[in-house]
Amino acid sequence: MPTTYLEAIREGMWEEMERDPSVFLLGEDIGVYGGAFKVTAGMLDHFGERRVVDTPISESAIVGAAIGASLMGLRPVTEMQFSDFITCAYDQIVSFAAKCRYRWGAAVPIVIRAPSGGGIHGGPFHSQNPEALFTHTPGLKVVAPATAYDAKGLIKSAIRDNDPVLFFEHKALYRRIKEDLPAEEYTVPIGKAKVVREGRDLSIITYGAMVHAAMEAAGTLDSEGISVEIVDLRTLQPLDDDTILASVRKTSKVIVLHEATLSGGVGGEVSSRISERAFEHLDGPIVRIAAPDTPVPFSPPLEEAFLPNAEKIVEKARWLARY
């Protein structure tokens, strides 16, 4: 039976909670209701109120309390109901959680789960991809899985990690993506990208839902004789420079792709690392594909125009391949 992306996250948390009594959950409506997206469905029944804690509408308190509990040796996993509300907890994340280790040697092993991404007609506040709001803050790790396998393996690694980890899970993948997962236990390491498609002519470096758009585009391009390599970053901080640069050295042409808006996005960081360290290998401009610099619009035709998709990728890739 294939496991959905959503179930994979639940399974990963479930296993870690069985394994380690210091792991517990904290968030709004995660108990009886099982979470706005039902990611934690059934966990209250199984683990009880002590380990599945429903909170008031207080994102800052949720993250703050997680920090405090972690400083006392627990491993809290928090849920933001939508990633869009993570900005309400921003100071606790970037000022408190991120800096404790450097400042006074204190570990803050917390996980912040943040359901993100568009394509569900959620409008400006239920569709954002806020990962780049966190990749400028040293001390944070930022993860964004694209597959059920990685979602499970990365949530487990995140829970075991000794630093604060932001876990951006893409809502549009929750029930759309599924695969058979190994029966035996596994984890996926934080900080390691993965070449999910080998190719010769150009590299698409991406993550999250856009991995699937890139795969679709690569299929089309393949039939046109353009061989595309796809790197799924999986972790956005710290970036896996080795995997990125190896792919660029191999193909010499790069598209950096994300669903989040263009300016100030993760793509800029990836692009600039490439131009800094693989300049001699480049046979064309580093192209970024991303959403335009606007809030996420609500109405379907606007949202469709807003989101990157296979078609838009194919078009740019053709141009770059010809370059």
Binding site: P56, G122, S299, P301
Partner: protein
Amino acid sequence: MAVAAPVRLSTGGEADSEPALAHRFLYYMRLMREAEDRIERKLYRQGKIVGGVYVGRGQEAITVGAGLVAQPDDALFPSHRDMALFFLRGVHPRQVFAQYMGRVGGLTRGREGNMHMGDVKLNIVAIISAMAASVPVAAGAALAFKYRSSKNVAWCFFGDGATSRGDWHEGVNFAAVQKLPLVLICNNNQYAYSTPLEKQMACANVADRGPAYGLPSEIVDGNDVFAVHAAAQRAAAHARDGLGPYLVECKTFRMTGHSAHDPADYVPGHLWEQWGAKDPIARLERLMLEKGWADRSDLDHVESEIRREVDEAVEWAERSPYPDPSELTDDVYAPE
């Protein structure tokens, strides 16, 4: 007795006769109920609504009772369950349906959805999703009124759950220190999504929070539109007199799931019955019949008029086009 012609624009505040007031209450409460029912129970299920749907079923007395106290130039900060505030200010149901369908005819031209709408000319400020973010913003609107020595008031509507947020605290505290003309209307419907009150706060009433800011607060039956109206008048008078913010807690119940996709299994069954019996519209109608302010046919007439108005509005909205993708990147910044 004939129904007074529906007055779309609230003239606010003036001393209406009780029967006339009752008719206005009824009109706006029914219009809100009918519009929301149509959205939640029909259009949503038909797949004609874009995105999520939050309604104020059972809470109409709060929106309308308080809303009708607001002066036309007062600033309104509706919550996600206050549709009638838009009607009170003259927004046409057409625009509301178009909003919910993501059409150009909606108040936000398809940029935003459902209750996330506002109108600059009508002084209605669109909420953002983050609960209670409007509270400091409403305090700022009140500051602007004080700054200009105007007698206007900012009206901020929110739920019980929103009071847990830091923004609620900061906004109320700031307004209290500055003695700003801010009226705080809480719809305490006893749930925030699936979270019951006792998991939201450890005090019995939202009104118990007033003293923490040195501000007067009172509790009213939120299903009694006259009671809400009277409390809102006290609140507005206090604020307009320069005495600072005033908190009205309206006890009510959310007679739906959190949103259209939520069956609300977590609500104990007897609560539906208990609160269903207190429906604010049925209650108002009973009162009007009792007092002889209306007879059954008057009430039926209001209902059928509103139904026709809504039918027409839905049709209009469905004909409203979707926004053109060429508009996608407009209006992020002011034109140069």
